[in-house]
């Protein structure tokens, strides 16, 4: 196994944070190293894919800046995920 940092592609996610999350979901869960490795890769790919499509969204509205609403739209459309709590954005029902 690798050290505490990084997925296979030098990702941003920390192995220890992943283990904490596993304990949060199920305190008795034991996870094999290669499962951890796979989850780190999935997380890495997720970030890459979300940020990439968000960038295309930003370009589509002819903006020079990537904004929260671009990411929100991608998450909603591609992953059916709505992340609340970004007060700077307009409120939605």
């Amino acid at each position: 196994a690798q050290g505490t940092t990084g997925g296979p592609s030098g990702g941003v996610i920390d192995r220890r944070r992943l283990q904490e999350l596993v304990k949060e979901v199920d305190p008795l869960e034991q996870m094999d190293d290669d499962v951890e490795e796979t989850l780190l890769t999935i997380a890495d790919n997720f970030i890459e894919s979300v940020v990439s499509s968000a960038c295309m969204m930003a370009k589509h509205r002819k903006s020079n800046t990537l904004e929260v609403k671009d990411v929100q739209l991608c998450l909603e459309r591609n992953y059916n995920m709505w992340v609340p709590g970004f007060g700077s954005e307009e409120l939605r029902p």
Partner: protein, 70 residues
């Protein structure tokens, strides 16, 4: 009036590393800037994505154990 609730302040992923990563992707797409809240939403979404996967895996693993018990 309306009440605004925010998600936790401490981010799941290290802010600086994630910011660098996002900025690199944005640059590749020809964008000049990244709004500061973008790291928080990406971090939070990644955490939720993993949480969902882990709970599914946990359920599946339990089923696998049942077979051994029989």
């Amino acid at each position: 009036g309306s009440q605004i609730r925010s998600c936790q302040d401490k981010t799941f992923l290290p802010h600086d590393l994630l910011m660098a990563r996002i900025a690199a992707v944005a640059k590749k797409h020809g964008l000049e800037g990244v709004s500061p809240d973008v790291t928080r939403i990406v971090s939070h979404a990644t955490q939720e994505r993993l949480r969902d996967l882990i709970s599914k895996l946990s359920t599946i693993a339990e089923h696998r154990m049942e077979i051994y018990k029989m």
